[in-house]
Amino acid sequence: MFLHDLNPTVKALTIIGLVFLLAFLFDPVTPLIYICGTMVVTFWFGTFKKKHYVYYFLPFLLFAFGMFWTTLVFTDKSTASEENLSLFGINFPAEDVWVATSLGLRVLAFATLSLLFLFTTNMVHFILSLIQQLKLPPKIAYGVLAGYRFLPMLKTEFQQVLAAHRIRGVNKPETWKEWIVQYQRMAIPLLAGAIRKAERTAVAMESKGFTGDRDRTFYRPMKIQRKDWIFPLMMFGMLGITIALSVYFGYFSFYGGEL
């Protein structure tokens, strides 16, 4: 699909740019429309398990609502207008609700953009593209890749150590203090294991001739092609249209130093 074939660096930079612009919008309508647009693009041009998207989206939704609610409850009551809105049986000034909604939706807009990237990008390709397009030092990049391989291993090892300690008669921690002691105990074998593994991997990489030199050839050349520019054009264009629409209908507001 189109989103999966994009150059990952172009995709990432586009999204960073969009997030930056969205951070300066201060009305709820513009991000709302943009969220819908981003989701349509994600689902239309990406292939992934839709169920997983929902799972990932839910915590962001919760976070956005938290943002909305804390802003609403903890800000000074606005006195700009007399108009009141009732939420969950509590009255709030309409303007506060407006601001809180815009903050909450902004979080969601960031979330949908991040998920677009996450669900349509192969991490390995992303890192390879960072080396090739943004000149990320191979030493760091291949270190990250090796670490990425380690994550599942570390999880298995954690479970093993936990089981191994249980059988030694270490009980499930009940107080904070016990909890801390238990994790300290587990940290030693886990660290020792991780250091040993990392060292072995480093030795293996070096013995395959890895020096960290930038001058290397690539099995998967990552190039920026003409079609890669469609994505930023599309996404920034969509933002432009969204802003135009909300300006036209009189909802638009830009950040003006409010807090």
Binding site: V124, Y142, L145, A146, Y148, R149, P152, M153, E157, Q160, V161, A163, A164, H165, R166, I167, R168, G169, V170, N171, R185, I188, P189, A192, G193, K197, R200, T201, V203, A204, M205, E206, S207, K208, G209, F210, T211, D213, D215, R216, T217, F218, Y219, R220, P221
Partner: protein, 541 residues
């Protein structure tokens, strides 16, 4: 004379924190196309030598290196970093930590990228290497989805793709089951003939390698060269010396030595003379004790499927099977560490669910594959005393119990050491000590001999045998058919999460489908067969 490809000159390596050098005054000359075995007890510097030969030392060495190492006539210090990889490639022991990429093709390409091979040539070389090791079908696979044997083949492909002149294998089959081991050695034999590389092998288990390694270099414990010469001749005539150094000899050689025969000792079971005593053994069916642990219709995730099995008091059971067939999972369910998704496990007739954790731990001990995982205290003494702390036993009695257990596991005098600073063998014995101090009646051991040299293996097995004689029930997971043959009363073979075989070892050896279980005959059994083979003509005529 052939071209000398590797040469060391008075090579001495000392690590920073150590007093005596790990390698001392090493002079070796290896010619192109040779197949050499590096032999020695653990800690004799074989791996350090590998690091000198692939250019890692002195660059990455914390310590000092004197003397010279020449590869293809050029001193390793004169090579550009990374350049030596074109000459010398290494396959390491652990299949999980020698990769840095996710998929097979990327991993093979990684080395080629380092060598700046152009893209088009790289694609061809990746395919070529995969074809050499017979893994073409797994080109796009994730490395983490492969079996241990397949991972080692990929590791080999990674090195072969770079077309080095020297191939060093550092215990490449230590993590593999018997069939995967044999496959790997056969593959290597075939590739050596085809590609003609020079081969250096570090290995503890010699069976399988004997037919194509020609020369042996023996290292002693102090890091000097003890012997350098033809492999077969050395084994035949100096087996006794190797044995006292703690090196594991091939079964035939060891047997001949044990029977106090004169050299030359045989290397293969087919060359062993028939002993008068080896007749068809009659087995005394040992009366089974009471059922200790039993499992009914146990299933766990997609790993264990509907297993029924009972362990009786006083038995010694071996669990065997292919890498990843579910051996560890099954033993953990039996030991009550892992709850099955369905089915029930009973201990002394009561479902495990009804046992309190603490009471359960007093009955069952479990020694994990990696002993370090189980260590929780800062000294050997505290480690063993830990499980007694809450047992309500008087302090003085605790002390004597701990001391007795330490003495039993031959760890006297180590009380104040940190468990992580012990040697591999000591760590293993300490983990056993922690599991028997509470008088547990049933002991599970996951690959108890893994990563240990002959001497510590022998010590550990002697210790277990003594415990077993005192009535302890033992369940061990192992790839080593010799251990199964020697100790087990019963073998459980797991195949794809199902119990494929559950009977006495002798019945397993007679099973037609041993290879499909990824197992092989133990050497003693092979020996018996050769005798039968020789006798057959008399029977038929």
């Amino acid at each position: 004379m052939r071209n000398p490809i590797l040469r060391t000159e008075n090579l001495t390596v000392t690590y920073e924190e150590q007093q005596s050098p790990v390698l001392q005054d090493i002079n070796i000359l290896i010619e192109q196309g040779e197949a050499v075995l590096l032999l020695g007890p653990s800690g004799s510097g074989k791996s350090s030598l590998t690091h000198c030969l692939n250019g890692l030392f002195p660059r990455e060495l914390d310590g000092s290196l004197t003397g010279n190492v020449y590869i293809d006539g050029q001193n390793t210090t004169d090579y550009q970093p990374g350049e030596i990889a074109r000459k010398v490639g290494v396959v390491f022991q652990d299949p999980d930590t020698q990769f840095c990429m996710i998929t097979v093709e990327d991993e093979i390409a990684f080395g080629l990228e380092n060598l700046n091979i152009p893209h088009k040539a790289m694609v061809e070389k990746v395919d070529q290497a995969l074809q050499w090791v017979g893994m073409t079908d797994h080109k796009l696979a994730k490395i983490s989805d492969l079996s241990g044997g397949q991972k080692q083949k990929v590791a080999l492909a990674c090195i072969l793709a770079m077309e080095p002149e020297v191939l060093i294998l550092d215990e490449p089959t230590a993590n593999l089951d018997p069939v995967a081991t044999r496959d790997f050695i056969d593959l290597l034999k075939h590739l050596k003939q085809k590609l003609g590389f020079t081969l250096l092998v570090i290995e503890h288990k010699l069976e399988g390698w004997l037919t194509f390694l020609e020369r042996v270099i023996v290292f002693s414990e102090n890091g000097t060269i003890n012997h350098d010469g033809p492999l077969h001749h050395h084994l035949q005539f100096h087996a006794a010396k190797l044995d006292t150094m703690g090196i594991r000899l091939p079964f035939a050689t060891r047997t001949s030595l044990e029977e106090h025969r004169q050299p030359p000792h045989p290397l293969f079971v087919t060359d062993l003379p028939d002993p008068p005593s080896l007749q068809e053994e009659t087995f005394l069916e040992k009366a089974k004790g009471d059922a200790l642990v039993s499992m009914k219709h146990a299933t766990w995730k997609s790993i264990i499927h509907d297993v029924d099995v009972t362990i009786h008091e006083g038995e010694w059971i071996a669990i065997a099977g292919e890498n990843g067939s579910g051996k560890s999972s099954l033993s953990k369910i039996l030991a009550g560490i892992q709850k099955p998704s369905s089915g029930t496990v009973f201990l002394k007739g009561r479902p495990l669910k009804k046992w309190a954790q603490q009471a359960l731990r007093k009955e069952i001990g479990y020694v994990f594959q990696n002993p370090e995982h189980q260590f929780i205290a800062d000294s050997v003494y505290d480690e063993v005393a830990f499980s007694l702390r809450h047992s309500g036993i008087a302090e003085e009695e605790q002390q004597t119990l701990v001391q007795e257990t330490l003495a039993f596991c031959r760890l006297e005098g180590m009380e104040h050491q940190h468990p992580f600073l012990l040697s591999q063998g000591q760590k293993r014995r300490l983990s056993v000590a922690t599991m028997i101090v509470d008088q547990q009646r049933l002991l599970f051991l996951d690959e108890p001999t893994f990563g240990q040299d002959e001497r510590s293996t022998a010590e550990l097995m002697a210790l277990l045998e003594q415990k077993h004689d005192n009535g302890i029930t033992i369940v061990m997971i192992t790839h080593d058919m010799e251990l199964v043959d020697r100790y087990a009363d019963r073998v459980l073979v797991i195949k794809e999460g199902r119990l494929a075989f559950n009977d006495r070892p002798e019945k397993l050896w007679a099973h037609d489908n041993l290879a499909s279980f990824h197992l092989e005959l133990p050497p003693r059994e092979q020996w018996k067969r050769t005798i039968k083979h020789k006798e057959q003509p008399y029977v038929s005529t």
